[in-house]
Symmetry: C3
Subunit: 445 residues, 3 copies
């Protein structure tokens, strides 16, 4: 090729192959960066646990990841390809997702499947990790794993097939648009967590006999907030994975509409900042500031491709203000113990996000025959996502609770799960206190 000038067709092949391998590289880095989300969740959930449960929380988080990968290989990916019509599988379209398909493994003529599958697995593991924080310190290991697999390799990917797929029926019928997966990832995980926490019940000591909530403090807030910042790092992989790289053409969303990474860069940073600031003014403390930052991104996620950045900032503030308040209501009014506020941060913010895009609607869709983005379309789709998360979470955990399979015995909970589940100590040389030191917050700077 260096000697004689190439033909036009040869050059075209060269350019297209350049696009193909760069596409692979892009999703490879998305996947790698999303693993940081799991380093973050590990730190976050262990730090949010009391000393006596720190390692048990870590074990659950790691195992959820480990079980989602093979189940997502064996049936999760197939669900995504098959179920975009609702409940009627398209067996033909999903042939490529059968575990014995030639696309599901090394295949020199398919540079795409493995890399997309990898990114989707990490999304799946993220949904499971969102859920896992809510139920720490009292759920039984085996029931947790069943629920995590159902959520990570079943429910969320069904939601993705419906509303985060080029042919998903929510988009085709209702014009649904959700750039950053606020629906299928965040809302579904949050509402699934809500369903489970209702049946699981509060941790012993979380409410006084008269129903007054008593805050159970995690043993290491620094570990938790560093973990949350690592999750934000991973969001750059997550949000990158929400875009279609198409070689020598403009980026598109998963719905085929054009987008630039520049738009996502503006709006991600603006909504994250808004969320921190919103939560700061409500709570003044770093757990909610970082959770608020997350809630801010989720609240703008459906329109990160479309919003004017100051609007993303305002939506971020909204998410950051609402999340701690929603969690307060959940705890004080409904007496539900969601240990890390997963429902408020992901479920509520995801809903805000979907509905907000309906309010600022009118953007066209390019899917054949799909209506424009509309308030009603976003609202109805949000309701579908809420139900799709809540019903399986509530139903399955209801049955588990009935057969006494959902929760560890009170004796084990009081002794601490590390003692009964993990043959290892978190900090063998430290001296845990038996009482939490009293702190008065009346002095102000």
């Amino acid at each position: 090729m260096e000697q004689t000038a190439p033909t036009l067709a040869e050059l075209q092949t060269l350019i297209e192959m350049t696009g193909t391998i760069n596409m692979e590289v892009f999703y490879w880095w998305c996947t790698g960066l999303m693993v940081i989300i799991h380093a973050g969740f590990l730190a976050y959930e262990m730090g949010a646990s009391r000393l006596k449960n720190a390692l048990a929380s870590g074990v659950k988080n790691i195992l959820a990841f480990a079980f989602i990968v093979p189940t997502f290989f064996f049936f999760g990916w197939w669900i995504y390809l098959a179920m975009y019509n609702g409940f009627t599988p398209d067996f033909e379209a999903a042939v490529a997702g059968l575990p014995w398909s030639t696309s599901m493994g090394p295949n020199l003529t398919d540079n795409a499947t493995g890399i997309f599958w990898g990114a989707f697995v990490l999304f799946a593991a993220t949904t499971a990790s969102i859920f896992s924080g809510a139920v720490i310190e009292r759920i039984r290991m085996s029931s947790f794993l069943v629920l995590a697999i159902v959520l990570g390799s079943g429910v969320w990917i069904l939601g993705a097939s419906w509303g985060w797929h080029p042919d998903g029926w929510l988009t085709k019928e209702w014009g649904f648009h959700d750039f950053g997966a606020a629906g299928c990832v965040h809302m579904i995980a949050g509402f699934f967590a809500l369903g489970v926490t209702i049946n699981l019940g509060a941790r012993i000591g979380r409410f006084a006999p008269d129903g007054t909530p008593i805050l159970i403090k995690g043993h290491s807030m620094p570990m938790t907030i560093i973990g949350l910042m690592l999750i934000i790092v991973g969001f750059f992989g997550f949000l990158g994975g929400c875009i279609i790289y198409a070689g020598g053409a403009q980026w598109t969303t998963i719905f085929g509409t054009p987008v630039t990474l520049s738009a996502v860069s503006f709006n991600t940073l603006m909504s994250f900042s808004g969320g921190i600031i919103g939560a700061y003014f409500i709570t003044r403390q770093p757990f909610w500031m970082m959770s608020g930052g997350l809630a801010g991104i989720v609240s703008a996620a459906p329109g990160l491709d479309l919003y004017y950045p100051p609007l993303a900032f305002l939506l971020g503030i909204t998410g950051g203000v609402v999340a701690p308040l929603a969690d307060k209501i959940l705890t004080e009014k409904f007496k539900i113990d969601d240990a890390v506020g997963a429902f408020a941060v992901h479920g509520v913010s995801g809903m805000i996000g979907l509905i907000a895009l309906g309010i600022f609607s009118g953007f066209p869709n390019v899917v054949e025959g799909a209506p424009d983005i509309s308030f009603s379309g976003q609202l109805m789709s949000a309701a579908v996502m809420a139900l799709l998360g809540f019903v399986p979470g509530f139903g399955l955990s209801y049955v588990m609770a009935k057969v006494g399979f959902l929760r560890v015995p009170p004796k084990a909970e009081i002794a601490g799960l590390d003692l009964v589940e993990v043959p290892l100590e978190a900090y063998p040389e430290s001296v845990p206190a038996t009482e939490t030191p009293v702190k008065t917050s009346t002095v102000t700077a």
Copy 2:
């Protein structure tokens, strides 16, 4: 396109679009990796605080990030585009940076602005984080935020417009060259920190009544050094962001001179290693080893594109040796309390870096009419950067100190900022000792 051979013009469009989206990808990853710098700074500054101030340090760090993003959107980016001549804004060139410009948001014909803006915001947040470490454990939250915004969305970006811009007057007039932003990021942040620490004063107990310095130890050195290693990870995003990706052409520096990533790879790793080794021989301890590694990179940063790698290694050693010594002089001679050595690590090393490139000068510039890199040009530019950082930091904090707005009351400082500012405890289950255990370092291995 698959059926018939494309025309030359079609192929050209295809290639150029490939270049455009790969450019976006490149800066997107730079931005994502730079968020790791903030996970690192969070760990680093909380670990370097005493137990009673750990969360308050984290809150400040997170809030600085959050406030810099919108302010950098509303005026920071405009300053960069407008002020390259000095103090006379070029209103025309800066139109694209006005917050209502069509470039400042989703725009399918502009794949560049948002992604560059994102990378610059992360640079801005880095300058603020460099500063924030110096003032922990006694600065008032509100005054800190004002200072952080002035530095992060004002002063440093003015310096960048002057000396880290294709048309910056420092380059045009004096041939200034600073590949890795040793001037506008590190020197300005370091000298700003110096200016503020002078007016802020030392923490209570930092000096004995006779002036002898008493080391105040951070509560978790492991957290601090892991944080510093994460900052080094983020440097790969930072230094990547110092290069111009131009599609199908050789990389250039921000000054238009050609460079390869290979050169930066060699010199970054060599100067980092040199810095660690230099600091190890002086101090034998990991806080300064990791800070020395940072100082090493900064000391070679202006010429990472130009140096022979063993020279970068020697400059790294120089930075690693000088930083702890400079901090010792600052503390012992000048009785200034810079809690993490920010001035020594960033201010002094940045100055070493700029002047060193002047010593090894003679490299040509390509900016129209710009003189070659010279000793005098680098020296004068270093003086400009020092002043540009110091004067606003000192001036503003002087006024704040005069009106009693700069520092928390002694009662709050003694009680600990977590108690007075943060309604949350860092480690509710641990038992903090009231006294630091005595350690004698006379035994040697």
Copy 3:
């Protein structure tokens, strides 16, 4: 170029330059992500140390990195280019690796060397970090550094030249294939560690007088397992760095055989998950779960380009099951104290990986004249890697032990290395207990 249509030759140049700079970008991110491996190792090894040795372990880890970079510049890279024939250097081929070569520094006509060198340096630092965990809490700093340099800038790169090089004699003669460096990185580091631990001896208190092993617990298991998850993040850089990016052509392995990143994505995630699950069923604890995940990837590493993903999953389970059992045998039968199980996780799993690919052999090689991948070829090559790691590690440490240079004095070991080596405390405000609290693991959930 915008005005008139380009010629075919101009377009070709444009495309090829696009490939060149994207190649640089790819390895630049590999290098940056591999620095996360070192943030991970830092957390992992400090967490696995007792309080009294935490910082000393960190110092060793950081210094190993720092010393490997320049030594790899001055002779490591040369070894790789020169020694592919065995022990007869090819001086001509290695001219480009001499430290005064024009390729070993900024060179606008060589976009490749620095970026490859950078990735290889990070591989080198990883081998040293694998080794460093095994010998914590009693090795002398200076002897550790000599051993780390010999391993990181000498032994492993000789192994890479033999078996991880397009012309390496192991491939040419025996058809050796090892996609993910299970041999030259993991086996060599693991067997080197084995050789050193034999001569170094167990930590005081590791075995009762009758030889019964007594587990020495690291002071922070959360820090250790977060560190291990960060290492997994870095593996995406490491495994990316095992592939050749060739511009507009399909990816190849280092042996020239074609591969896709998709294949690596499938098999990395599947083998990691298998390893976690395997280790969970044997041990139920997170240290071994995360180590098992690592062992799982290493057990599948030689064939990540070739395996059907469920096979990678099974190999992962195998690695995850065998690693803790191998470590148990090493400790209980052979009374060897490998503080983090480095030999079991890297040495044993690497050997499993190489031999497993021999069992599933028959894949063709493309190196001129090289035989197909075969059981005997993989087995013999594994033996070579084992010896190449073990002999220098054992021999050198044997001499060091004889001259009393290998280990710190018992008094220093009992007092703790932080006290004698590091003028800084890990946690100045915490109260370390003198005894480990008793824990009974008989209660089950």
